[in-house]
Subunit: 428 residues, 2 copies
């Protein structure tokens, strides 16, 4: 909800900024200094887990009061973060209808349209006249602060059209809503993926998108400010998942330590497992290395280039998938382009590395070994960088999920195998 | 501009989707099948470089006609992508006033509020009455499709307040705009960073933000759909820059090959330089390696963990800086947290690695060497992961700019130095 009370100097979102940096006890105490509407607004501006941590300092009555002053989508996000028992106590304090609505919203996963929509929406029957509609809307003046569109329903309660509030005033009061509404309205079902919802807003420049059930009845609405939140969260999630930070959309330096460890350590352990694979490959050639230790000198060069060019490809793919630009139809194009770029980059860098290898050791063979293994590594990196994100998506994982860890495993293993294998073959 | 012509089956943004996948010649030909307004709308939906590539297939007259049917911010983005000579010819075809306006807009860099704003804005004097204002607005019915707020100016033409279109209809027609407008309007100057503009929208849930000159006169407006574009571009840029793809905000699998190579190869070359640093460190210990080749086996494990835990920290920092959560004041907190997490993760992973090292070689010394160098590496990774993005920002670079390349250099060099140095010291 938007808040224009000038009793307080701070805008509630600025209060939220301050609360974010305080320990939960102090934040809770500070919040008590403001009225419920203002406090609710500040809680809305916090991440749900932060708001929940503060809310837990209060008793159920105050919790329920605060939630009543928040918009329905934010209250539900917050309820989801509360411990199960507290959630139940709070829900029991609501009246029958509100409890039912909240329970309805709670069943939609957070990453769906249903999980992102709010129930604050106005609908009017299509048989109403414009003049009467303006009269009705005037009664809801307060709600209007938040609303840009009025939805129009037919006799059976199904979505029939939409009317932008901004031009309803310029219509003839005597005509029926049916005759002035825009009939071709895009809607989504509640189980629709919220990242795709964000892409629809991006593409069509919408301010709001109604959510309907499968019978076509209006359930709620997703507004553009929700979409900005979704984009922020999804982008953070992708960036963090790529390097193996998972489990929470939004880790930051404010995240408690134990939570950070829980997000990161498991993937470091996975990375250890995969690094041991590379170690085994190196171990296979231990004898070659002890005779030609200079091979070990080039290990970081080969692994570094393979890892880096593979990371470039992974980033392009993860981003392209997130923006809906790369689907199955584009995967061949991506594979062709990225593996060819790997070849071109490998030839360019490999030539330099071969010269350095020759200069370092005085052996043409050594120059060839490092040059050729560089080319092969970057080609493999291009392929792995495409296959891994697309593969993760295919098996139903997030394409970003530790894509970098999987990719560097492939490039390390392949790179060391090429370098040490060629060395063992050509030098002995 | 929003377009509701039902003469064509496709929505213009869907036409844009199709054009995006065609060679420029065919895309240009396809575009000619539609009227100017529709084609302009499709061009707006393309990336500016794609739209410019298509536009170059037409003569200046048609170019000018199409640009006239686009909103001012999109036309300027497109003009910026045209070769200088073509841009001049097109500008000469506009009338004096339009040319002056475009030239004014062209001087703002793309990443500023001025570069993102459009000129399509309605302002009315505060001495006007609501009834008269509605009458004025009714004349601009077409423009209203795009507009949610009317700005109110004082006698000197300075911004005095704002009036949401959605509730102007519910006001008494006899009162002055001065008495119903909201006076406390947030504005930005045209040189304001566009990423910060996006954060203001995110924080306050705005739909539009006026841009004013330093005398307070209204220049233009940034709308929430522009902000969604800004967020998409900035997020893509950050994700790609992190792995060393720079120079273009939005590389994708559709980017021409030579452009992709230009974005990526320079950073691969930098990476080669930095990888050679690591190679030099390994070279220093070539003799130790030839005696204890098993040390080479653990090189990928130490480098892999250091690189991975450092990447986690870099991602947290880059994202935190982008969201405006981490400034100078938070850098100590970040450094403390991330280096401590490095220590904790290092102890956990190091213990396992020490056991593996012992099991692999049967030497307690070897177990200690790999365990200790693991701990030291992840601590260094935590420090480097904080210092590099903050350092890049301090010297005026984008904090994401190849942060991963710099960070892995540090972790590789440090990791190999610890592992091989300890090995040389303890084993010989």
């Amino acid at each position: 909800m938007s808040y224009d009370n000038e009793a307080y100097e701070l805008h509630p979102v600025e209060l939220a900024d301050r609360l974010r940096k305080l320990p939960e006890d102090e934040a809770a105490e500070e919040l008590l200094a403001y009225d419920l509407e203002y406090s609710g607004e500040a809680l809305e501006a916090l991440d749900p887990w932060q708001a929940a941590a503060i809310l837990q300092k209060f008793d159920s009555d105050l919790q329920a009061d605060l939630l009543r002053h928040m918009s329905s989508d934010d209250s539900v996000d917050l309820l989801q973060e509360l411990p199960r028992r507290q959630r139940r106590s709070v829900l029991n304090l609501f009246d029958e209808l509100t409890r039912k609505r909240f329970k309805g919203l709670l069943k939609y996963p957070k990453d769906t349209a249903g999980g992102a929509m709010s129930l604050e929406v106005i609908s009017l029957p299509e048989s109403m006249k414009v003049g009467k509609a303006i009269e009705e809307l005037r009664k809801k003046q307060k709600q209007l602060e938040e609303i840009n569109y009025v939805y129009v329903t037919d006799d059976e309660g199904k979505m029939a059209g939409v009317l932008p509030l901004r031009n309803i005033a310029f219509r003839d009061p005597g005509v029926y809503l049916h005759d002035v509404m825009k009939k071709d309205v895009k809607t989504v079902y509640p189980e629709f993926d919220r990242e795709k919802v964000a892409r629809i807003f991006d593409k069509y420049d919408y301010l709001a998108l109604p959510v309907v059930d499968h019978a076509g009845r209006l359930l709620g609405v997703i507004t553009v400010d929700d979409v900005i939140d979704i984009l922020r969260q999804e982008n953070t999630e992708d960036m963090l998942e790529m390097v193996g930070i998972s489990g929470a959309a939004e880790e930051s330096i404010w995240t408690p330590w134990r939570v950070s460890i829980k997000h990161r350590l498991p993937w470091l352990a996975v990375n250890l497992g995969t690094a041991l694979l590379a170690a085994v490959v190196v171990g296979l050639f231990a004898e070659t290395i002890s005779r030609f230790a200079v091979l070990a000198v080039f290990m970081p060069v080969i692994a570094g280039q393979g890892g880096n060019s593979g990371s470039q490809t992974v980033a392009i793919l993860v981003r392209g998938i997130a923006l809906g630009e790369i689907g199955r139809a584009q995967s061949r194009r991506a594979l062709l382009k990225e593996s060819s770029l790997g070849l071109i980059h490998g030839l360019a860098i490999g030539f330099i590395v071969a010269c350095i290898g020759y200069a370092w050791t005085g052996s043409i063979k050594m120059g060839m070994i490092v040059g050729v293994s560089m080319v092969l590594s970057t080609v493999v990196a291009g392929i792995a960088g495409v296959v891994i994100p697309l593969g993760l998506k295919r098996v139903g994982c997030d394409p970003a999920l530790s894509a970098t860890i999987w990719m560097t495993t492939v490039t390390d293993v392949a790179g060391f195998f090429f370098l040490l294998g060629l060395g063992a073959w050509l030098l002995t």
